[in-house]
């Protein structure tokens, strides 16, 4: 069953076509990598799916319902989480407070004016459990912008998962990380997305081939190929357009 699907998706910025008839199919429970050279439209595809932009044509289906053009907060409430390529945390809030936002959101605690948030025991407990799971418990009360780069990225990724989404969209989760940090982040992602559906934009081919169940290759706004890693590796068009140029 496809938990996420786009049909004939087009998007343009002032008539500059960025997405061109994109038919993406993400099956429930898989880790789906989206690869492609710079400017292929990967992030734009994410933006259109998660609600930053409304597509100029085409439809997006999430859990069998049409959600084309739905706003980000709506998509989150339907069960989608997203992390960003450029770290986008609440910089002056602590790691704990950052994660807690996700916990509050999932529990539907929004316009609550009558309780102190610090005295909500179950929210605090759940947040602390997440912090432990992502190994940030030692940095619990440090403002996000004082964390080391690797930790800050972990926080970024974990915020997308703190709302406990069914589908999580990770936009270059390992961007700017060192080899060690990348290895650690991959383990983290593998652990946190267990039993969930993950869509991951990634440049590092080692990461892609070790993590993904299926891969979609985007090139100049079009899907070039989509399938399991082995098939993609041998695909002639993909080699010519992307993999070849990277290896050669």
């Amino acid at each position: 069953m496809n938990i996420l699907e786009t049909k004939g998706l087009y998007h343009d910025f002032n008539r500059l076509e960025v997405l061109f008839d994109v038919n993406l199919q993400v099956k429930k429970g898989e880790r789906h990598a989206i690869i492609g050279p710079n400017g292929a439209g990967k992030t734009t595809l994410f933006n259109v799916i998660t609600g930053t932009y409304k597509p100029s044509r085409g439809t997006v289906f999430f859990k069998g319902k049409e959600v084309t053009g739905a706003k980000p907060h709506h998509m989150v409430r339907l069960g989608m989480g997203r992390s960003f390529q450029i770290t986008s945390t609440f910089s002056r809030l602590t790691a704990f407070q950052n994660i807690r936002m996700g916990v509050l959101s999932r529990r539907g605690i929004r316009f609550n004016f009558f309780h102190k948030v610090d005295t909500m025991g179950d929210v605090t407990q759940e947040t602390d459990e997440i912090l432990k799971r992502i190994n940030l418990h030692g940095e619990r009360d440090m403002p996000a912008n004082t964390l080391s780069y690797g930790k800050h990225r972990s926080l970024e990724i974990s915020m997308a998962l703190a709302t406990d989404p069914d589908v999580v969209m990770l936009d270059e989760p390992t961007a700017g990380m060192s080899k060690d940090e990348t290895r650690y982040a991959i383990e983290l992602i593998r652990r946190l997305t267990e039993g969930k559906t993950a869509v991951i934009i990634e440049h590092d081919m080692d990461v892609v081939f070790s993590l993904a169940d299926r891969i979609t290759v985007l090139h100049l706004g079009e899907i070039l190929a989509s399938g399991p890693p082995d098939k993609i590796r041998e695909n002639k068009a993909v080699k010519d357009a992307y993999l070849g140029e990277m290896e050669g």
Partner: protein
């Protein structure tokens, strides 16, 4: 638990000091204190927008003015309007104005938000000047009756007595300050500071940003309205000057001098300005000159304001407390170090 006891004692002492204040300092300084308290609430209401939601407004005076005019008009035109009803008129006068504007302003931020408020503020000022039939123009509305604080069959306190009015004003303003403080401790308070830090991500965490902004905007303006309402009753006069641009800048400079990053900052800012005014006006009429100088010194040397200075001293005194969230609340806002760190992360 020890800490809690000390806190309770401190609050008790403060409450006692507030009660005894008029007896210790006489009626003149009692009135000075009421003025300070009015501006403290006004500045705190402003900082709910600036410091906690990241919304910079150049027109907060219109909400102070809306509260003041609503109360003055109610007391002038409604025969036997009770005191608390007049106060509610002030509160809702501002809230209604805020709700009328919120469909437009809640989708804005940064300079657009600031400049639109400048425009609306000037518009309100001009309206107050020109609609003489309602607002009394430059002369304003004055000499309206100040009703007693009256609970049928229980008590009736004459509010034209400055001492009684002091207790009433302190109760109302102090209560409002407590409500504003409680507000930022709630989950909603957590959402507004997240909007300040990164409104796009708030959307991606599943919260509606414009609605959140509209609610905090209305509440902030409501608090400003209460301050204005008490001001009108205190002076028994309200004129267009209360809507002027200078009155919009007062809470900005108070917040800046006191410290934008903490709840208590604007209160300290209001206190500092009250003291400057009191002390300088003994020697010269050029109070603004001194206030301007203080603002320049603060902006140049202590960009975090008075609270930042307190934080530094306290931090040195208590040793570096990490993990208590202390630095987060007091120091981090404008410090050069965190600023540099942020740009490093971006690159």
């Amino acid at each position: 638990m020890m800490n809690r006891t000390i806190k309770r004692i401190a609050w008790g002492v403060m409450l006692l000091a507030l009660v005894l204040y008029p007896w210790l300092f006489g009626i003149y300084y009692t009135n000075v204190f009421v003025t300070f308290a009015i501006f403290a609430l006004y500045a705190v209401s402003y900082n709910l927008l600036l410091g906690f939601t990241g919304l910079f407004s150049f027109g907060h005076a219109m909400f102070f003015g809306a509260g003041a005019y609503a109360t003055a008009l109610a007391l002038t035109h409604i025969e036997g309007c009770p005191l608390l009803v007049a106060l509610l008129f002030g509160f809702f006068g501002s809230v209604v104005l805020a709700l009328l504007l919120s469909p437009i302003v809640a989708r804005l931020a940064h300079s657009a938000f600031a400049m639109l408020h400048l425009a609306f503020g000037m518009l309100m000022y001009t309206l107050a000047l020109k609609l003489r039939g309602i607002t009394g123009g430059e002369d304003g509305i004055g000499g309206f009756p100040i009703p007693p604080f009256h609970i049928p069959g229980v008590v009736s306190v004459d509010m034209t007595d400055p001492l009684n009015f002091y207790y009433f004003a302190i109760a109302v303003l102090g209560g409002s300050l407590w409500l504003a403080w409680y507000l930022i401790k709630t989950p909603f308070g957590q959402i507004i500071v997240s909007v300040r830090d990164n409104d796009k991500r708030v959307d991606y965490m599943g919260f509606k940003v414009p609605q959140t902004k509209a609610v905090i905007y209305a509440l902030s303006c409501g608090f400003a309205g209460i301050a204005g309402s008490v001001y009108a009753m205190f002076q028994d006069l309200i004129s267009a000057a209360a809507l002027g641009i200078g009155h919009s800048f007062a809470p900005i400079v108070m917040t800046m001098v006191g410290g934008v990053a903490s709840f208590a900052g604007p209160i300290w800012g209001a206190a500092i300005f009250a003291m400057i005014e009191e002390l300088t006006s003994r020697y010269t009429e050029r109070v603004l000159l001194v206030e301007g100088l203080v603002l320049i010194i603060v902006v140049m040397f202590f960009p975090g304001g008075f609270m930042y200075l307190v934080g530094l001293i306290k931090g040195k005194w208590l040793g570096f407390i990490r993990g208590k969230g202390f630095g987060v609340i007091t120091g981090q806002w404008f410090t050069k170090r965190s600023g540099k760190k942020a740009t490093e992360d971006d690159s």
